[in-house]
C-alpha cells in the first residue's frame, strides 16, 4: 500500500531570487526517506484548514539522503504560504506522483527551461549520464545556474531584460538539429515553440506539462489534456509527454 499524506519537516526554506524559494523537507517518520524520479512531483499542503483547499503540485528538484528539495516560485496564495514557512515547520506531502522522465535517452541531450521550469530539469540533469547542453531562460535574475556549471557541456543563459546572458528567449539560441533528444519544461508558449522547432527537424522532444490539479493521483480528471491518444492525465500518464503527442490549443 502506498502511504497517504506524510508529514515533512523543514530544515531550510530560503529565498534564492526574487519570488523564488528553495525548500528542503526531511521526513518525520524514522527510517523513511523521500523518494522519487526526475519529473515526478509531490502534492504539498502547508495548511490544515480548508482555505486554501487543494494541495499544490511541486516537482522534485533534488533528493539526497531522503531529504527532498523543492524549488518554487511564489505565484498565488498557496506558494505564498509556503514561502512563509520556517525551519522546523511541518507540512504534508503526497508522492512521488506521475510517471517522470524516461532516463534511457540516447545521444546528445538539450535541456531547455523557462523560469521555474528549471526545477525538474535540475534533478534530471543529475541523473542523466548523457552528454548535455542546458538552455535556461529567466525573466530577469537567473538562479540555480551554479548547480549546472560543470555538469553539462554548454550552458546558455537568457534573460528577458538582458540583465544576464543573452537578452531574449532561450528559443532564440536553441538549435534542435544539434541534439538527439530534447527535454523541456516551462511556460506553455515556450514549450510549444520548442516542440515546433524539434518537429520540424525531426528531433525527439519530451515536455513536462503543468495543469491545475485537484487529486494528483488520477481520479478527478481535472488535469487531463488533449493528446493524440485521447485525454491523458498530467498527474498520472504525465507530467512528461512526448512533444509529438500533445495537442496544444490556440
Amino acid at each position: 500500500m502506498k502511504r497517504s499524506y506524510r508529514k515533512g519537516i523543514i530544515p531550510s526554506n530560503i529565498q534564492i531570487a526574487p519570488n523564488i524559494y528553495e525548500m528542503k523537507l526531511a521526513t518525520c517518520d524514522p527510517g523513511f526517506g523521500f523518494k522519487g524520479k526526475p519529473g515526478q512531483f509531490y502534492m504539498l499542503r502547508g495548511w490544515e484548514a480548508m482555505d486554501p483547499f487543494l494541495a499544490r503540485p511541486i516537482s522534485i528538484s533534488d533528493i539526497s539522503n531522503g531529504v527532498i528539495t523543492f524549488l518554487y516560485e511564489v505565484r498565488g496564495r498557496g506558494t505564498h504560504i509556503f514561502s512563509k514557512l520556517k525551519e522546523g515547520d511541518v507540512l504534508e506531502l503526497l508522492g512521488p506522483l506521475g510517471a517522470g522522465f524516461d532516463l534511457n535517452v540516447k545521444g546528445k541531450v538539450a535541456l531547455i527551461s523557462g523560469g521555474i521550469g528549471i526545477a525538474p530539469l535540475i534533478y534530471l540533469m543529475k541523473r542523466l549520464g548523457n552528454n548535455m547542453d542546458f538552455y535556461c531562460g529567466f525573466r530577469s535574475v537567473p538562479y540555480y545556474t551554479d548547480r549546472i556549471e560543470g555538469k553539462v557541456n554548454n550552458i546558455y543563459i537568457t534573460t528577458e531584460d538582458g540583465s544576464v546572458g543573452h537578452k531574449g528567449f532561450v528559443t532564440e539560441l536553441f538549435i534542435p538539429e544539434k541534439y538527439d533528444t530534447v527535454i523541456t519544461c516551462g511556460p506553455t508558449p515556450m514549450i510549444k515553440t520548442v516542440v515546433e522547432m524539434c518537429k520540424e527537424k525531426n528531433v525527439p522532444v519530451y515536455v513536462s506539462m503543468e495543469n491545475r490539479m485537484a487529486c494528483g493521483i488520477g481520479t478527478c480528471l481535472g488535469c487531463a489534456i488533449e493528446t493524440t491518444s485521447g485525454m491523458l492525465r498530467v498527474c498520472k500518464e504525465g507530467p512528461v509527454f512526448s512533444g509529438e503527442e500533445v495537442i496544444f490549443d490556440d
Binding site: 487543494l54 491545475r212 487529486c215 481520479t219 480528471l221 481535472g222
Partner: protein, 300 residues
Amino acid sequence: MISTKVEICGVEFKNPVIVASGTFGFGREYAEYFPLSRLGGISSKGLTLNKRDGNKGIRIYEVASGIMNSIGLQNPGIDGFIENELPFMEKQGTVILANVGGNTLEEYIISVDKLNDTNIDIIELNISCPNVKKGGMAFGIRSKTAYEVVTEVRSACKKPLIVKLSPNAEDIVEMAESCTKAGADGLSLVNTFNGMAIDIYNRKPVFNNITAGLSGPCIKPIALRMVYEVSKAVDIPIIGLGGIMDYGDAIEFIMAGAHCIQVGTANFIKPDISIDIIEGIEEFMKDEGIKSLDEIRGVV
C-alpha cells in the same frame, strides 16, 4: 458491540460511507492507498452510453473552501465500463453503484438496459450533471420532467434505482416527492451547485461552459438543509452528501435523516479520507454509546 451496517433497497452496506461519483474514478488509484473492501460502497464515475472526452479548457478551479469543476463527464462509456472497469470493481468486496448520466431519455434507457445484466448492485441515476449541455441539466430542475424520466427508467431497470438530485432543482422537496412517486428506490443528494467564476484580467469566464459545478465544504450547510427537508418529506432511503470532510459532517447528515452518506471532493484532499471518516463514525458511536445508526438517524 456497535454495528455500522445499513441496508437500503435490499442491499447491505457494511458501513454508511460510499465514495461519490466522479471523485473516485473506478477505484483503481485509491486501491493503491487502502483496501477498497473497507468502504461501504463505491459510486462509479458518471457513465454515458458512449465514451466521452469531456470538456476543454480549465476543468478544476479552486474557490473558498471548495472547488468548481467542469470535467464534462469524461468516461469510457457503458461498454468500456463493463468490459474494463467492472471486473476490477467486482473483486473489491464492496457495494457497487453505477452512476448513469445522459443527454436523452433514450440514452438512459439503453445504458440501464446494458447494466441490468451485470453484477452492479445499484443504479444511481444522475439527472443533474451541470456540465453536460444538452438535456442533462433540465431533467434535474423541473419536478415534472424528472418524474417522466424516472418513470421510464424505473420500468427499464432491473436493479435498485437511486436517483441523484441536483441542488439546482426549483424545489428540492417537490423534486424528491416526484422521483419517489415515479418509483425511485432511494435518493442521493446533492450533486454540485451551479456556480461561476470570472477571470478579471482576461475579462472572460474561467470555464469554457461559463458555469461549472461547485462542491466541497462550502456547500455543506445548504446540502445538509436539503437532506433534512427531503428526509422529512419522503419515506424512501436517502444518501446524503455535499461537502462531507470528516466523521462529524457525516453524523450531521445521518442525524438529518440520511441512511448512507457519500464522500466526494474530500477524496481529493486526502486519498484515504473515507477511512478516517469510517473510523471516526465508529469512535463516535462508541463514545456516545450508540449501537446502531438507526438510533440517531433523523433524530433532529
